[in-house]
Symmetry: C2
Subunit: 675 residues, 2 copies
């Protein structure tokens, strides 16, 4: 009845260590926290990078109505910027009131109840996945704009980047940030220089002209309602510039002290930069006359077998010249910052997951910090989900944008409504300066709530039939799952809760050593069973054939084993069932007893060895554990090959050396005989 | 430190029972044995079915040289038939000398040594896989010949049939045979009638004409060497008629008593029928003027976008008329018998696998009979391998035939050489009638050995560059693996062998109950540990954070637990390592001890519950088992959901009802409180 088990070492294997880095203590957590200049690139890259696609998607939707519709774009862009200001101000309040990193989830849960909290959490989880997908798709799009030959490998590139980001993140928060700080600052700097250069050239009368300015579009004939809807849709797409604002509110615990102040400053800084870049880039796109079409084949004059260059690439080419060094710097920085935006989600998603796990709404495994103090499981789930989305949607940015930002606005809205409720409750209790502060907070968050609910309605109306229905399906499904998980944990906890009626003193105790063939592992199990001084210790052989049974019995006598061997017949080649029947009979005869079944188990050193040992012991253990009053003792037998795992266990513990194994459990073997 | 485990029931689930049937006792094995009239269809379908493709492949190769080369076909066919007679006679001897079902493997191993035996076994395993692939491919080919619309689903059909055969076979040997007897006899009968009808019509001057008789071929200009090689290649392909002869010699144990006599009769009967069908069909194909080309596009006049009908289909259409009822009966019976031929391998492969496992050359799991007394693992491996081959080679018969029969002739040759050695040894000892018998045996097997070695050379030369090199690679690789497996088992067995120096009496015994949070499962583990009366029992909490540690300690005191709780700090969030260090320190202080670690373990009822419990206990157990002198006791805690598995455990055992669980291990809980 021996079986194998591949011992897993707690020590980090070398390959893992190189990829992930050395393990860190829990105390080192504080040392991993972010100073502001690091927090900005790591949390702001999402909001900042969205200027790479938000103006493009905004202008693209307007262009469906024809080039004349581009005249609406300043107004639409202004609305987006106004919204961004309101949201940033609202979140400043939220960070202060709820600095624990729960963000909208915590606000909604505390103020609006469990269901709202779970809906916010689901919406955010969905949006984190889409953030990764959209940012990576846009990053790849910008790479292809600079290097069109890579076009056939769009999906492969995107999935490859997702894998890269997973690995980088598994190394831990701060190192990720260090690697990411430079390109974010290069992006901000180079795009700012481009905007200034372009606008100065415009002011001097040397207006840069985009390549696509020459292509006209086939304008559709639109009704008045359709015109309004189109403008609202352009606004919805432009709102993708807002995503990532919430990342800071979920990441407060990762900031250095004073956490709230630092997080607020980072948030405002981030919002200001995002507004400047968004406004500047939209203006420059209009100045250079970029025509970016939803379907590039609708651009009259454009050979649509080629990939359509991104708005960023077109503006950069117009300003600095296609193929110039600044052009490539801008494209590289844009691609980098977009990939870093994907990284934002790799901070937010696992943090939110761990908060959910802590509250019992998600599997506990999400709240387990890995070797490097990061929530590894959450990162892996996020990466896999994003990769699947990218493959399904073939890394097409415009399609993905249709699903995007709904989740964010669901959580924005519920979070802001929760904040309104929070301030109204505060106002009942506080006085003086605090009361004034609460009144300001109420005003700001009421504005935020109205704006975000309105935008959620617009986004829903304009995006639902363009693919967003999938998100409206995913959010409730996830919410129901979370509620289910919570109910499950509650039931288990209730079932296993200690109560005062617990007392001890079970009597009757018998040990059964399961014997397949008489080999040293069995002898070791017998020795251990005897050492534990059970009231009674017997050996049992389950006989499928009579010959086997006779052979074991003969061997047993030959080696003069110290306990009796009983044989149970099993004509159906079962093991657990005859044994559980035997236990029942034994109890009928000798009264209620606790039964400990000793199972010898091989420990092997290579994965392939598992294939060569059958899993009988594991199956027997699983089945016997269902029998009342039975516990299973696994007595390991380390095969020589297990030295491999053993060798990895660093410094040998005193009295723990393998040579001692043979003698100290009472078997004095001729070690020379061993191969 | 609790963990889940999904209990697996030994009872057969309903779905499995419907597919596979009720379990059988080991004693019922004899009742599962085959009478001759059942053994013929089950073991002979391979050899018989090969007439469906052997004449076709023989004529096809000759046709490469042009229609004139068909004149060689009677001679080539005669050579195949002569070889078949010699092989059948040789195997009659082998069955008698080695009736245990080991066949060529046993003969080669006994007479030529371990390496030869292993090579034979590898060759046979490879050929069993190819038998399934070739037979299914040919079966599908004949189905498509009758129903050309199915052509696009060739591979899907083939894989589907393999799956069907696996399921049928998992139900067990005899029932499979019953289902298979009828079509085999229908096939023999209908093809015989077709041959007689065709030849009579020819005799009466009303010669049937095949549809392809009108298509000529572009003859290649061949050198004299090329002509000889082509004829030899045609012979090689024709030799596929010989496969399956060895199946009987591997299946002797499955025959009823007298096993040897019955097996021999079945072999001769099978050989005779195969020869008659092969000769008749080849003749009829020549009479009707079938032109079957390797590349159908070389047939002048044939629209090669359509599938080329099989030789069997063309002859049947010529004799009875395409689309007539006899035509469809023949095609259906041919397809059926080919699928049954695949079934032959499902008898031979697992039997050989179990013999190899018994001898320690293959994983032990191959020698485990399933519920239905069949070697289930072997069947599943064979089915998977065949499906992969079919997918890789797109179920193309002509390509697969190139790989085929090499394995068979490797084992034929080594088996016959082994038999020669066997008789020569016998001759040294026996006298009188037995001596005469041995002399006849020697003569027959010497002839068999010369013929099969010669054919092996021819087959190697003519097929090597046509794809057979893969087989020449697979056989040594498999052989080396088998030798490796054998050496591994030998080492393990050596390592674990009992010797007389074994004695008992380990002293020092301490039980450690691992505590995560104080819950009922922990209390149960404490109770069990106390009941086992270890010399000392302590509880240990491994503290990742101080708060946790304090909470557990408070709880521990609150509930007045009967043993001391120690706290070990673990700043790196490890569990096994600090514990093994603690054990080492304990031993330094208290002397060498056997340590039993008690781990509470949740038993859950649904697969998804596993996702919600972390696997910490399993990981800890795996790592602690590497520590010298430690055994692991799993104390199961059955969650209410585990009723699901529990419910499947049929009649409740006395004293085994779940209600009793709570009280009898000393915990009297308010069962009403449980959800």
């Amino acid at each position: 009845m021996t079986e194998e088990s591949r011992g897993a070492s707690e020590e980090t294997p070398i390959a893992k260590r190189i990829l992930i880095g050395d393990p860190l203590t829990t105390e080192e957590l504080e040392g991993q926290l972010l100073p502001k200049k690091m927090a900005l690139p790591i949390f702001a890259s999402d909001a900042l990078s969205s200027v790479a696609y938000a103006p493009q998607e905004l202008l693209m939707i307007l262009l469906i109505g024809g080039t004349a519709f581009l005249a609406f774009s300043p107004w639409v862009a202004a609305a987006v910027i106004a919204l961004l200001i309101v949201v940033v101000l609202s979140y400043r309040q939220l960070i202060k009131a709820y600095p624990s990193g729960g963000g909208d989830y915590e606000v909604a849960r505390t103020n609006l109840g469990e269901k709202s909290g779970v809906v916010v959490a689901s919406a955010l989880l969905v949006d984190y996945i889409l953030t990764v997908a959209v940012s990576v798709a846009s990053g790849v799009d910008n790479i292809i704009s600079a290097l069109p030959d890579l076009n056939p490998w769009r999906v492969e590139l995107a999935v490859g980047f997702v894998i890269l980001i997973i690995v980088v993140n598994l190394r831990g928060v701060r190192e990720a940030s260090q690697a990411f700080a430079i390109p974010t600052y290069v992006f901000i700097g180079s795009v700012a220089i481009m905007i200034v250069t372009g606008l100065v050239r415009w002011g001097l009368g040397d207006t840069p002209v985009a390549a696509s300015a020459q292509y006209s579009v086939q304008a559709e004939d639109l009704t008045q309602v359709a015109v309004i809807l189109l403008i609202l849709r352009a606004f919805s797409s432009g709102c993708s510039a807002l995503t990532g604002v919430e990342a800071v509110s979920n990441g407060v615990p990762a900031f250095r002290q004073p956490k709230v102040r630092n997080a607020q400053t980072t948030l405002v800084l981030m919002g200001s930069i995002a507004i400047l870049l968004f406004a500047g880039l939209t203006t420059l796109a209009l100045v250079t006359g970029v025509h970016y079409a939803e379907n590039p084949c609708h651009l009259i004059g454009f050979d649509c077998t080629n990939p359509q260059p991104s708005l960023m690439a077109q503006v950069a080419a117009a300003t600095f010249g296609a193929g110039s060094i600044p052009f490539f710097i801008i494209q590289a920085a844009t691609a980098c910052v977009l990939l870093l935006a994907a990284n934002t989600a790799f901070n937010g998603f696992p943090l939110l997951g761990s908060v959910l796990a802590r509250d019992g709404y998600a599997p506990k495994a999400l709240n387990t910090r890995g070797d490097r103090l990061v929530f590894s499981n959450g990162m892996i789930i996020l990466g896999l989900a994003a990769a699947i989305v990218l493959i399904v949607y073939q890394a097409q940015l415009t399609t993905l944008i249709q699903l995007y930002i709904i989740g964010v606005f669901v959580s924005f809205s519920l979070g802001q409504i929760g904040m309104v409720k929070h301030w109204r409750r505060e106002l009942r209790f506080v006085k003086g300066a605090e009361r004034r502060e609460a009144q300001i907070g109420l005003a700001i968050n009421s504005l935020g709530a109205s704006f975000t609910v309105l935008v959620l309605l617009i986004v829903t109306v304009t995006k639902f039939t363009h693919g967003a229905w999938l998100v409206f399906l995913a959010i409730p499904v996830l919410s129901i799952l979370m509620i289910g998980v919570n109910r499950y944990y509650r039931d288990v906890s209730h079932e296993t809760e200690m109560d005062d009626s617990v007392h001890y003193g079970s009597t009757g105790d018998v040990a059964i050593v399961l014997v397949n063939r008489l080999q040293k592992p069995v002898a070791k199990a017998v020795d251990y069973a005897l050492a534990a001084k059970h009231s009674k210790t017997i050996a049992v052989h389950i006989a499928v054939t009579q010959e086997e049974a006779d052979a074991v019995q003969t061997d047993w006598e030959l080696h003069d084993m110290p306990i009796t061997l009983l044989t149970i017949e099993s004509p159906y080649r079962q093991y657990a069932r005859p044994l559980s029947e035997f236990i029942a009979q034994y109890r009928q005869k000798h009264g209620s007893s606790i039964v400990t079944v000793y199972l010898p188990q091989y420990i092997v050193g290579h994965w392939w060895e598992s294939l060569l040992h059958n899993r009988r012991a594991r199956r027997i253990a699983q089945q016997l554990m269902l029998v009342h009053g039975v516990s299973i003792t696994l007595v390991p037998w380390l095969l020589d090959s297990s030295e491999l795992i053993y060798g990895r266990r660093s410094r040998p513990l005193p009295g723990d050396d393998r040579a001692g194994r043979i003698t100290s459990y009472g078997l004095v073997a001729h070690t020379d005989d061993e191969p």
